[in-house]
């Protein structure tokens, strides 16, 4: 690396821009991981449908964002379905963080709401009746839920990959050998993710709900005899985890500038890598693990072809688990 730097094959600017993109990517992975980790902590259940909560809420959120941005100019149906079949294009709607901030904000909120409601609805419809049936039953059921949701997305939005945003403002920071481009999308993502993570931290440490969530995660049986209403806490945990999945989904689509029915599923593998690296069940582990996975997969692009990035993330995960089998924050839940 030092040789590459001195010979000019690798510039400071290039490394910095990979780091910046890695940070943005990692924060979105961490955000999605928080929800996964919370439900794992409370229910001992690795929810494989989490990625498809991300997909569905991202699609609905972006549909609403399009509707807000292009209302009156295009048919509402075309807008809500992101112009499926080539009826509306992002350049026509002119949607971007700087050109249509209200649309983006409304879309983000809707994505959070959809994620929250979806998570609670699926819990009471599917998972609730299976509590106590064992983790494997729940896990397989969640794989089923994942497929149902994924192909619901295909049914509504087809298998097309949609371009989402028009060009928008970006800022370039000059560094030796080039410049780092700070896009408005990555900037917004980093702000939103940091705010949400601080909010989660405050929730877990300052509120009664958060403390009860940690108590339940630590010892279900004792939580019951203490009078903590388990089902109510579980429902609220799904609500929070689902909302974070929705926000992560909207944000990853914004960051990539594209969306398709596999967006959440593709992300989920990395989310799992981050959550396991951080120590499954630990919220802080999920955040740190997510950021690490983001940084590793992006920075590795310097040496490794893009098609191998996910493998790199998992390779590092395995290396960390070899030295710390319970993950970085393992053993100490939440």
């Amino acid at each position: 690396m030092i040789r590459q730097l001195t010979t000019g094959e690798l510039t400071v600017a290039l490394i910095a821009s990979y780091l910046w993109r890695g940070l943005a990517y990692g924060l979105v992975i961490g955000l999605a991981g928080v929800g996964l980790s919370l439900t794992y902590d409370l229910l001992d259940f690795a929810n494989f449908a989490h990625g498809d909560y991300i997909t569905i809420s991202a699609f609905v959120g972006w549909g609403v964002a399009y509707l807000v941005a292009g209302f009156g100019q295009f048919s509402p149906g075309s807008l809500l379905f992101l112009g499926v079949g080539g009826t509306v294009y992002p350049q026509d709607v002119g949607i971007s963080v700087t050109a249509a901030p209200v649309a983006i904000l409304v879309g983000l909120i809707i994505a959070a709401l959809v994620g929250a409601l979806l998570a609670v609805a699926l819990d009471s419809a599917v998972y609730k009746s299976m509590r106590g049936a064992g983790n494997i039953t729940l896990l397989i059921a969640s794989v089923g839920v994942a497929f149902v949701l994924r192909y619901a997305a295909v049914f509504l939005f087809t298998q097309q990959t949609f371009g989402l945003t028009a060009d928008s403002w970006s800022y370039e920071i000059g560094l030796p050998g080039g410049a780092v481009r700070i896009t408005s999308a990555s900037l917004l993502l980093i702000i939103v993710a940091l705010v949400m993570m601080i909010a989660i931290h405050l929730l877990l440490t300052r509120t009664k709900l958060g403390k009860a969530m940690r108590a339940m995660g630590a010892n279900q049986q004792l939580a019951r005899v203490t009078g903590i209403p388990s089902e109510k806490i579980v429902r609220r945990t799904w609500l929070i985890g689902g909302a974070l999945a929705g926000i992560a989904g909207f944000m990853i689509a914004l960051l990539q500038g594209t969306i398709n029915y596999q967006i959440g599923w593709t992300l989920l593998l990395l989310v799992f890598a981050g959550v396991i690296m951080g120590g499954i069940g630990s919220v802080y582990g999920a955040i740190v693990g997510g950021i690490l996975v983001g940084l590793i997969t992006r920075v590795s692009l310097i040496w490794i072809p893009a098609s191998f990035t996910e493998a790199t993330g998992f390779a590092v995960m395995i290396l960390i688990l070899l030295t710390r089998p319970a993950g970085i924050f393992g053993g100490d839940a939440t």
């Binding site: 009664k208 403390k211 009860a212 940690r214 108590a215 995660g217 630590a218 010892n219 049986q221 004792l222 939580a223 019951r224 005899v225 203490t226 009078g227 903590i228 209403p229 388990s230 100490d332 839940a333 939440t334």
Partner: protein
């Protein structure tokens, strides 16, 4: 006047019946102990009263209300408290947070109850920010009792409070229980350390194979040659 009346209780886990026709009662402010050999079902009695086992037959009346069909959460609302034998604190939560959880069903943390727990166990006040998981066994046991006292229950169920404690801490633990009784809270306790428990309590039951074999005041049971020989190890 009795606050807890257990009549002809049959209970167990799934299809496995552990308790057969158990009768017991606790008066207001009374200190009652259940002793007996390992596997007699002592802890099962506690769990059954609190709604943690499969109730098969018989009645449990607490302060005039039938509670045999209650789940644990409902029993907390009825003013009954239970301290399990092991894993009775939330390790990742601080001492203070553990105590706050004890008052979960209230809208606000009751400051006076918190203060009286701190007065009772000053070590908990000193260490209120420390994680419960990093405390010693004796301190955890105090925290578990403190948690149960947060709602000022009329009756507290203690499942083997001396289990796992170093010998020099056992006396201190029993002294703490004496003080809980002195302050007016009734105690129903299961104990392995039968001699110590019977010498301190008002009344005792000897449970064998899931059935009540003897019941009398503690000193009498302790003085009974046959009971000493068969169940209390001489």
């Amino acid at each position: 006047m009795s606050i807890l009346d257990v009549t002809s209780l049959d209970a167990g886990y799934g299809d496995l019946q552990v308790l057969f026709d158990v009768d017991l009662h606790v008066d207001a402010g009374e200190y009652v102990t259940i002793v007996g050999p390992n596997g007699a079902g002592k802890s099962t009695v506690m769990k059954s009263i609190f709604g943690l086992t499969h109730h098969m037959d018989g009645s449990i009346v607490y302060r005039g209300t039938n509670i045999e069909a209650n789940d644990p959460e409902e029993n907390v609302h009825e003013g009954l408290a239970y301290v399990p034998q092991s894993d009775n604190v939330f390790p990742p939560l601080s001492v203070r947070e553990n105590l706050e959880m004890g008052a979960y069903i209230l809208d606000e943390v009751p400051e006076d109850a918190l203060q009286s727990v701190f007065d009772r166990f000053p070590i908990l006040e000193e260490r209120q920010q420390q994680k419960a998981g990093s405390m010693s066994g004796g301190q955890r046991q105090m925290l578990a009792m403190g948690r149960a006292l947060m709602l000022d229950p009329a009756l507290i169920l203690l499942d083997e409070p001396s289990a796992g404690l170093a010998p020099d801490l056992v006396d201190e633990m029993f002294d703490n229980i004496d003080r809980i009784v002195e302050s007016g809270t009734a105690v129903l306790m299961v104990e392995q350390n039968a001699k110590e428990a019977l010498s301190r309590c008002d009344r005792g039951y000897v449970l064998v194979n899931g059935e009540n074999r003897y019941s009398d005041d503690g000193e009498t049971l302790l003085g009974d040659e046959q009971i000493r020989r068969e169940f209390l190890g001489g």
